[in-house]
Symmetry: D2
Subunit: 346 residues, 4 copies
């Protein structure tokens, strides 16, 4: 009953096999190896972006931060949802890399950026007092979001249409977004300046890729990445993971599975009388409220997941509904889901 | 009819006289002169803070930034009102000096920080994911606010009671706050970690003071100030201005006058059928909406002030109410106010 | 006997008069006033640079830092002499503003940058390991230097010829450089990207100007300046000082006088048996070694100046030669110089 | 004939086996797993430092940078050798993380920091002009150095004795230092504040560890690490590598082997008439000059290594001696060395 995060899972055997296979002989360092070259080709094809540049990374936080620092001057405003990982869970990495830029968190009725709110925020900043104000610089969207919701391509197009600002996508769970809908990867990234593509949460050991669609970002990104200590010498071991992850659509199979496990859990929740889903379940995450007592029972039986809010005490009024996050991974089984659902019961 | 800002006024003659008087012979540099020593003594008395340290400054922005950088680590959260000067009008100076700290702007029903909103924001950040989150670090209040409202000492006490975080006060218009109420300066600064005390907007040429009540801030403040290029060699010329400003309560006389001019303007507005005050008028600023046509007429007659919003066009529907800011200074006369009021008329 | 620094002097009466004269009525803020416009025109003429942009400043440190941050990316190398003010006396302001750029201090046989050493350093950095290294970004020369030596225009041309890097001049004592030679201001600044022009050390209260010859630097400079808290609201009070300073060549008269006082002091030193000049005396500063006992006598008689080295103890072997810096200002008199020379004697 | 770097080698099979073995089931994220706990215990034993804290990392650059940023304020001076990786090859990562601190590179007769030069540099900075100067903050030594030389423990003790400053060791090739001498790991790290311990260059895929001996550094280090994007979710995959690397002294066996290969190469060089060693060969690196023609022949035969200097052209005067770096790895064979030596010949 491990639902704490998709990053607690081990790696898929095929990815480990690829790692073992790549572990032979000498290879040039710092991404000049053949695996990295192949990965770039593969992702150019996938995204129908023949000019895109690809950099293997080991950290989603650093990928986000170095890309956003390439997109914004130190005095720029970067718009994101108020629940974005860059805003909430990266201890200010983006503003650190960007030299003091501002993240402007936007509220919305769900976990996706609202186009009208974005437009209004950009207009307000653009109307600021010249050099006294921080000018609009970039937009960052998370897909699927931190609360498991997917952006439609119409929604993304609408956000792009709001302004001429470059758009970054935090794709820590990009695979789950692709697997949950019918849009192609190329459709989803259309018009983006850059993508943080994550495999770590979806079957890899430690593998991310920075995908730069806008070639003007490269020099600045590369500099920020280097200064962040993210230019790995043995890059082949990251690229080999991602190649195996992409091969024969393994990444989509794994994401489809974790999505299905979350859907199964969500259905189980809905069938209960005491649970309530807080967000739509498009990907591999379920956010739901259950009575405190149900959480206490599940915890007592060894279930692992995070209560998600200011009140996370297991002792207290047993009826109070507490929000929790449940994350399914590629290695979550139907039995795991069913055991969790049963664990809430008396 | 100059109501663009209190920083467009010239300096009061007594302050200029003091500057001339200080311009004699040699004096040690970098704040080791006798004027600066006397200023420190004077402000210690004023604030009943015998341990306070005082640093002469020429920039309110830099004073705010260096003080906040002394109060927050690079990964800390600094809470302020969403209209605070540090958030809106300093191009990110505070986060620049602080190495990437986050300003968290708080919404409220008026231009003062709401205690409940502050409490909630701090609690949410304190409940963040350990090292992944940015921890609460400091609070900055502006008194009088950017929209001309004064904090009561009860309100300030309530904000301090929310947490143990150090509190900074942006006192660019501190004199207007003192002059508009009955609380003593010492009462207003009670419990503060530091104060940015501004004289430039109230009769000086270019004079601010950083007042540090918490001695632990000194080394970091002094370092940030130096690196910001704010350690003036000929500091006597700033300190002499402030001494004259404080002498015989000139500062309060000037602030009382500018407050009175704003009050006169506010009364005139209220007597009109077409104007509406947007904020309470505690100090020297009036925010009011008037029909676009009234603004157009005043502008045509040479009135100078800022329309305050996204829509600042003088041509368009003549009836649309547009918000504007009117700032009175120590040198604004009753005739100026009356002329402005008349200028709105057909 | 005040020779501690030229920044301990008061301001010249004509500059104070101009300040008083500027103190009338309202003026637009943040450098949009008529004094600042006139200053820009005046400096464009002086430097034969019709496109130059001029920004009034109150701090030489901040002027240097914001200009260099406009010239170098956060990962660039800025070359300077190992005794440069930016390297030694600004607590890292330039690297702070520039987001972590590197100052590379160059050794030389005197206090001026050696062309061969500069060429070699740039070549070494340019040969660095691609993105792993910090690339050459800019050059900063100080004229006159921190040790009172002037660059010839041939020397400056030779430094420019070393590379295509933009060149910044720290002109905290630019007037002394002009006054000590026959080159015109326009000849001295030929080919520069930007100049920090200082008046504070030469008769003003607090007045510097950032002069940008390269228009591409403006947006970045203006942003860095604003974030540094250096965009003064009442800029007229700086610009008015500089206008008076420039009028009728007052600036050169003052610099010629302080240069002459330094020359008189240097001659006096040379006539002594116990003193030795450490640098050529082109401007208003004398660096000389005298026996410890001579220093002790002068200090005992109230002379004020700085011993310049690690050993600054007045008690110890009386014969040990100790280096000291003596700075003459516009207000230093011949009698002051003669009194100092006499004070060294038994 | 792969001598470009030890980071071009693949990983040792035992380390890969350990990685495969760790790839089972769920594990808590962000270093709270059992492998990381075991690694901390193992390194505490190794270094006889029962209070030490250990953080798994994937980047030596980031490890260095986050540790040094924990040791120095943004305005501090960090002393290192002029050839240190942090100075030459990390694009300013340390100053970036530290918010603008200064690296002060020290020259020496070899690649190790000279105690007298260090003492002199610290004294000069400590004698700086108070808040105008950057104060001494920390010392970083690289062991073995970037040029393959080992510090004796007496040398290290002498450097520590120079001041009270905290000392950091860049141990990217720490194993080579241990393997080349008779001092224990605990002796080598005695008195250090922190160690960057590298396994990547010595048999791992991607594995470093930050070892903090001074517990006061932890909060700041952890914050800088997080903001740098170096807090890996699946940390077990790093810790498992390092555990296997340490087990049964594999790390020392691998380092002893690569050291032996370098020694073999050095002997071969010495037996030639045309080669000259530039540094003592204590570890796995050989720096030697050979005639340009010898290099051209070796390159033509497929040898891979780096020419190390400004002149790296293979065409030109065939007799000119050119410096080159040759790095042996754990997977370098005697045959490789002999082939390289032969490749220089006609």
């Amino acid at each position: 009953m491990q639902f704490a995060s998709d990053n607690t899972s081990h790696a898929h055997p095929k990815i480990m096999e690829a790692l073992v296979a790549a572990n032979t002989g000498f290879a040039p360092a710092y991404g000049t190896d053949k695996w990295t070259a192949a990965l770039e080709e593969r992702l150019r094809d996938l995204f129908a972006a023949p000019e895109a540049r690809v950099f293997p990374m080991t950290s989603g936080t650093a990928t986000n931060a170095a890309l956003l620092a390439a997109m914004s001057p130190p005095w720029g405003v970067i718009y994101c949802h108020e629940t974005a990982h860059i805003e909430v869970d990266e201890r200010g990495a983006a503003t650190f890399y960007a030299g003091g830029a501002k993240l402007k968190p936007l509220a919305a009725s769900d976990s996706r950026i609202d186009g009208a709110a974005l437009k209004s925020a950009i207009a307000a900043d653009a109307a600021g007092h010249g050099v006294h104000a921080m000018p609009p610089a970039a937009i960052s969207v998370t897909n699927i979001t931190e609360f498991g919701e997917r952006y439609s391509i119409d929604h993304l197009a609408a956000l792009r249409a709001v302004s001429d600002l470059p758009v970054h996508m935090d794709g820590a769970r990009f695979a789950n977004a692709v697997a949950s809908g019918t849009d192609s990867p190329a459709q989803i990234v259309e018009g983006l300046g850059a993508l943080s593509l994550g495999a770590t949460k979806n079957g890899a050991l430690t593998a991310e890729a920075a995908v730069l669609f806008d070639p003007e970002l490269i020099e600045r990104f590369d500099s920020h990445r280097m200064r962040g200590g993210q230019n790995l010498s043995k890059a082949r071991f990251v690229s080999a993971q991602m190649l195996a992850w992409l091969e024969d659509d393994l990444w989509l199979d794994l994401a489809s599975h974790s999505n299905a496990m979350a859907a199964r859990l969500a259905r189980g929740m809905q069938e209960r009388g005491d649970a309530s889903l807080a967000y739509s379940v498009d990907g591999n995450m379920v956010f739901a409220t259950l009575p405190r007592a149900a959480h206490a029972r599940a915890y007592a039986k060894g279930a692992t997941y995070h209560l998600w809010g200011v009140d996370t005490a297991l002792d207290g009024d047993p009826e109070t509904p507490l929000l929790a996050r449940f994350v399914a991974s590629w290695s979550t089984s139907e039995a795991d889901v069913d055991a969790l659902l049963a664990a809430f019961d008396r």
